[in-house]
Chain length 891, copies 2
């Protein structure tokens, strides 16, 4: 049985798995298998499947015997490839145990290196390498890592011992410690482990292996991994794979190195090999940002005189360039590589799709198409609508701004943002909850800071490269980031950020403002103006493909001519939702709206409506002009009337004076409009039925505006939308009202104007009886906000008390107001669409809730065969790309 | 094409239609056809179908030519049966035109008699009858009726002319006017018609016929018919048939009579022929209650010396008795007959199922079964659960009450009720809206009073018999009614009711209280205590059949031991909904509930919960005892917590003193719990997820109570119900919580206690993902109240502003909170049931919303194959009968 196969071997050119098996082997495991098959030099090893991780939890956090059997069998294959034996005191095999989930979760889970070392094998290592310092340093690192990760001995305990030794020896760097020093450190480490855990450090290699595998599986549910998944919408039930792989060492001496590389520049997307490496170091040293690494290529070199790998080790470099080309051609995507050189031999440790900025994604997609590496469809899939495209639409520093930077660092994640300085993730979260904009300023960031980074507008670090934690995470989040700003000294406890400038030190405090330019790596004091980005030709190229490939139309939700114009510039093909009530709130309008609502009888109400009509008409004219030739879906008045009336006695008194009414009358009438559950109250079509004169006025204004536009040569295309319909008869009557007004307003002119009458589907009942409604309706537009409220029974205003808790606890995989709940709300959308079309095959069907701008939801709406989605103007390009991707993926 | 057949002839022993065609021919038309076929003497005529009525409205209130053709053809068949010609000046055929809908709507629509009379034909009538007074009286009546009904000349105008003539002649009764007087009256009538309408009274018989048919069709939408349909849930789109039938006259002289009869006593159900008649009168004279009619049988005679038909005309009576038996045997139901004797010949004018009291319905059903006229199943269908059975459960005057009646009238509709006197329908409606109990006191009632009668608890009239409008309508509504109370004089304008008593006149005023005993016909001054009725053996017999035939279980919604006992007496087979929050409102509990809610942390909350637990436990023990051996479905806490906290500063201050807290803390915490839309807020399962300790306490109390009951020999069967579940994972977690508590509370004792864990299905999403929930749930109970709120998006608290309007306007056929909306909410019930059972075939499915006690809804739930319905204790018998009827109808 395939499902009971727990272990997949790879090594020496053969592999049980391959690159397509990410679900089972995780990204790392699938990549290792694929690279092995491609003939790249990969240290042999094996992957324990994600299914085993789930089983591990199902069985009370234990590894089943079959798994251990299979692992030992695979281990013996590794041993025979390398001619070493795991735990052998003379010729020991050392391994790493690494997590590897289906989706990349950098640094979130545990890793153990140098596993298999003990007092015997360390001596064999020393003998074999003839390098006592390396042997004791490896052992020291193993105990520290295993102790921290597996045995839960505080990291700081080990740091204190190491620092103590350095102080004792009067040295500053780890590398200045001798083999003897390090041997003493390992003893102190093991003593500390015994004190904390009450047990000896495990010396049996197999025991080390099983506990390390358990720890890696167990780290799937550690706090930061959990929180990362939540932020990145990764299901908790995926589990992680565990990769056990023979160790190769980048830290055996000066003929050793370790590095990471991107096959193209992850910031700009330029087709240049791009990376960093450190000689005589292990991989963690690069990623952690503790030593500043050297550049990979000559081209990439800065002015600091660091030598590149290309210059230092041209043969290794050229071998690496070969792999770069092979992997890109194979994966047809930019790859993020990890490599290690052990005594002059290059080993590939990882390949995966590289994270990149929006600009880079765009550049890579269009370049690869130009290079004929991918076709349009594949190129479209290389740009993530939500992260990449959204970034491109981010603001930049206004080029006309005459600002001098305080300092410069690495341009780690593009865009520009201003905020108050905070020095901790917690402070960032707290400020975010208060709605304040902050810049998180840190020496370096670590996985514990994820939530704080998410809450900040920008991140600034004093240490670390473009592949440091801060840079990788910020790019993934689309946050502005400047990393490795050497002129900056951060004192978190004093809460000061000190910049070394040509004018001397400049000390800033918590709460002071900074503007961060992540595109260029600049840091400015105070507020610097920003502007919208210019969209490049590559952007136009990509969006052109998107428009060719997508089947879904994309409209916008806009209530003003200005928003309509913006949206049209972004490619909106009409308005999917124009909310007329927003027009009621203008300063000169509200008094008349209130007069209309507080009217004692129909004639008073009609008088007030007559005053409002010209204003509505001119609104509609402006919108028709902005959307000339494109459909404009206008929703008639929807909210309950009490939204417009005074909410305090004082307001009521002022209004009474203004309207020349009795204050008590105003107040009592206002009070009588209050509702227990306004969401479920007297609104939408219910207003239209009980106060037909309101909808009559609005319909008149629409038809008069359309007529006026047409008479001056325009092409208005109104689509009149009745909100909150739940009963077919409700729709029938209000449609008759609108048709009557059309007849009365336009008379014979009606012929020249094509307009539709349709409804929002936002009440569950409307989806159920969609066939009945569609007998008369010409279009449906799903109002998924309200539909979500009603299908779940969640008030958007009140669910804040429990819904975040639900998402956090994994009771619901994501906030259904952000991304459509396919199983529940989505089922209603599908049902309404199918039933509506069955009764009326010409029915046009769209969606105008917030979900119209969410790429995952757009994919679902494509699958439901809707005609269009409608979203806010700035989300229009995102929806266009998401729609194209859905179409491409479906073929 | 059958559908284009507009006219169905009947007469002389043959008929185009039959009794099964009520939908097309209406009740009256189907009855006439069937009686004709049975060989009963029915005046020939024809029925114009209900479909023509609909067509009439579709075509702008006009009669289509094909209809007229077919009518004229049928008319000529009538002419040839009788040897008379319509409109012939020498030998004229006169006809009546009467409405007749599918369901009986007594007096709601229009009727025209004596149609075909004009200045020529009246003379032929006089010649043929040799009775000038009859001729002119007929003509006078025709003009008056046609003028009023068809030409819309005010009724009062005609009355004024007639009264003027009587004054002029110094007489009191119509019958005292001479032929000459009446001839002059007809002239004045026609003059008045010309003045009001500006046109001559139509003399052409065909013109009379078409306008009369149009008027009858048109009366389908008059106000009172509309309102009657609304009250009686008769669809507006049924339309009415029109019956055109040869006139027979009960008013040609002393050998003429007209009457109405019930084949059994409509008040008691006794197997006695029962009716009333008037000699020398037309039918309207009986129904209108203007002359007090004579009894049909000797047995029925009172002490007032009136002679019965049995004594006066024994041959006619015996012929009528023959028809009575024939019709009852044929229809297998009590019939309501209309007959007329013209010059010694008996004609049957109508047969239909007779309206009856609850007691009569029960008696008739069981008697007919004893007589072997019907089997159990048919007998069950003879009792209407809502009207008849409900009446039987009405209160009666306490036999121990020592009250002397103020007066006695006819026991027109049973039950006893107390209320303030009002003198108009409008006053009754107004008082009803204020929630006051009133007795409507009138000389007589008319169809305009329908709404007022509906709003009153009892009706008292000074005139009219048991078949008068007041009596018929009151029985139909299940209202208490005493009619024809001769000792009463009503002065509506002075608003006084004067009773002639042995102690002299007693004058009561509006607002004074009366107690009406409709079972015995007594009127009491003031408040007389009432008691629940004893349920008869017939009741037990019927309910026994119901229990044999029904498939649906019937449970009750009960929160206390007392309610549980009542419901069990009424036949409840368990509790379908025990709301635990009601237990939180007790005086000694509320402070602890509030302390629990306002707790600063979990430990304070747990402390308060610990105080509440013994109280909950003792509640549950009481309920388990009352329902020993039967399932008790306990819903864990459902309402939002703010329902329990102070709603004003003053309350908050008092509570703060009581709880030894800061007043501001209490107030702020209370305020923070307020919600915009509490219906969609933090309640139900959401409380259970966020404050698990509350559900833990409740589960502990349940298990401890069950354990205690069991230990003293009881058989508690708890079914724990989780409210407001929308997500399968929500259910899974809370179920795990309850199971854990069971384990902790009961330990090994668990084995001995069988309990279920299930959920309410009240959120639309729960119905959609019912299959997922049913994987773990053992039962579903549809909470159709909340489900209706969410499927429609109607807040029950706020929909009062528009929902009555929707029902009134026919936008929705009925209030969906009263009777289940099959198309929308019902579809969700069906979907949830099917999906749930598909995933878990053993799933038990019930419903515990208000709809559980509504017979129409119960029928639907039977069709959905639910396992049980649950309703309030007093509705249990109604649900049992409704469930049996649904089962019988389905076979």
């Amino acid at each position: 049985m395939e499902s009971s196969r727990a272990v997949y071997f790879f090594g020496d050119g053969v592999a049980d798995g391959d690159g397509s098996m990410k679900e089972l082997l995780g990204g790392k495991g699938a990549g290792l298998a694929e690279m092995t098959k491609l003939g790249l030099p990969v240290p042999p090893g094996f992957t324990i499947t994600t299914a085993e991780c789930i089983r591990f939890y199902d069985e009370g956090r234990t590894l089943r015997p079959q798994l251990k059997e299979q692992a030992l069998e695979a281990l013996s294959r590794v041993e025979s490839v390398l001619g070493r034996k795991f735990g052998d005191p003379d010729n020991p095999l050392l391994v790493s145990v690494r997590s590897g989930a289906r989706a990349s979760m950098p640094g979130m889970m545990d890793t153990v290196l140098n596993l298999g070392l003990n007092d015997d094998t360390v001596r064999a290592l020393i003998t074999q390498t003839d390098n006592p310092r390396f042997g004791w340093d490896s052992y020291r690192r193993f105990i520290q890592m295993f102790g921290d990760v597996v045995l839960e001995v505080p990291h700081a305990d080990f740091e204190a011992i190491l620092d103590g030794k350095k102080r004792e020896r009067g040295v500053r760097l780890d590398t200045e410690l001798t083999a003897d020093d390090l041997e003493q450190v390992t003893r102190s480490y093991r003593e500390r482990v015994r004190q904390v855990t009450g047990r000896d450090f495990p010396v049996d290699a197999q025991e080390q292996l099983w506990t390390a595998i358990s720890a890696v599986f167990g780290s799937w549910y550690n706090d930061r991994a959990f929180s990362y998944r939540r932020l990145n919408r990764i299901p908790h039930d995926w589990g992680t794979a565990a990769n056990v792989q023979a160790m190769v060492f980048g830290n055996m001496g000066e003929d050793c190195a370790t590095g990471v590389a991107f096959t193209r520049d992850p910031s700009t997307g330029e087709n240049h090999f791009y990376g960093e490496y450190l000689t005589n170091a292990q991989g963690e040293d690069v990623v952690a940002g503790i030593r500043t690494p050297h550049p990979l290529t000559r081209q990439q070199k800065g002015d600091d005189g660091q030598r590149s790998l290309e210059e230092e080790m041209p043969e290794i470099y050229s071998e690496l360039v070969g792999y770069r080309e092979k992997l890109e051609r194979h994966y047809k995507d930019m790859q993020d590589l990890e490599f290690t050189m052990e005594r002059g031999k290059l080993w590939m440790l990882q390949t995966r799709a590289g994270k990149r900025t929006g600009a880079a994604a765009l550049r890579i997609a269009t370049d690869m198409w130009r290079e004929k590496l991918v076709d349009e469809a594949a190129a479209l899939l290389l740009v993530d609508p939500d992260r990449h495209l959204d970034q491109l639409l981010h603001p930049m520093i206004d080029p006309k701004a005459d600002a001098t930077p305080l300092a410069q660092g690495l341009n780690a994640s593009p865009g520009a943002a201003t905020g108050e300085i905070v020095f901790s993730a917690a402070a960032a979260v707290a400020a975010g909850e208060e709605g304040r904009h902050v810049v998180l300023v840190r020496t370096e960031t670590s996985p514990e800071d994820i939530e704080g980074m998410s809450a900040a507008r920008a991140i600034l670090t004093s240490r670390g490269g473009r592949t440091s934690h801060a840079a990788v995470v910020a790019r993934g989040m689309g946050k502005v980031c400047v990393a490795g700003c050497g002129a900056l000294q951060v004192d978190s406890s004093a809460r000061t950020a000190t910049f070394t400038t040509t004018n001397g030190p400049r000390v800033l405090h918590e709460g002071d403002r900074l503007t961060i330019d992540g595109t260029n790596g600049f840091v400015f004091e105070g507020v610097v103006p920003t502007v919208e980005p210019e969209l490049s030709e590559d952007y136009e190229l990509l969006m052109g493909w998107a428009d060719t490939h997508r089947r879904l139309g994309v409209r916008t939700n806009a209530d003003t001519p200005h928003d309509s114009e913006t949206a049209r510039r972004f490619g909106a093909e009409g308005i999917g939702l124009c909310r007329t009530e927003h027009m009621f709130f203008g300063e000169e309008r509200l008094p008349w709206v209130r007069k209309m609502i507080l009217a004692r009888d129909e004639s008073e109400r009609r008088e007030a409506l007559a005053r409002l009509k010209p204003m509505q008409r001119s609104d509609f004219e402006g919108i028709f002009d902005a959307m000339d030739g494109l459909p404009v879906t206008i929703r008639l008045l929807d909210p309950p009337l009490h939204e417009f009336v005074p909410h305090s006695r004082e307001e009521a008194e002022a209004l009474a004076r203004e309207l020349d009414m009795q204050s008590d009358d105003v107040w009592n009438r206002s009070e009588s409009l209050r509702e227990m559950n306004p969401m479920l109250g007297h609104r939408g079509a219910r207003l239209g039925i009980t106060f037909p004169e309101i909808y009559e006025m609005q319909a008149e204004a629409i038809f008069e505006a359309a007529d006026a536009c047409r008479k001056r040569g325009g092409h208005p295309v109104p689509e009149i939308m009745l909100p909150l319909i739940g009963i077919s008869e409700e729709f029938r009557r209000l449609r008759a009202l609108v048709l009557r007004v059309a007849e009365e307003t336009l008379g014979a002119e009606q012929e020249g104007l094509s307009f539709l009458i349709g409804t929002m589907i936002e009440v569950p009942r409307a989806a159920i009886v969609a066939d009945r409604i569609a007998e008369d309706a010409e279009f449906f537009s799903f109002g998924t906000n309200d539909l979500t409220q009603l299908v779940f029974g969640y008030s958007r205003d009140d669910s804040g008390v429990f819904l975040p808790h639900y998402v956090e606890q994994g009771i619901t995989p994501r906030d259904p107001f952000q991304s459509i709940d396919r199983e529940g709300v989505g089922a209603m959308v599908r049902m309404g669409t199918e039933r509506g079309r069955a009764a009326n095959p010409k029915l046009k069907v769209g969606i105008c809730g917030e979900h119209g701008g969410d790429p995952a939801s757009v994919g679902f709406f494509h699958a439901c065969a809707l005609d269009y989605v409608s979203c806010s103007p700035y989300r229009v390009p995102i929806a266009r790309l998401a729609a194209a991707q859905a179409a491409v993926r479906a073929t």
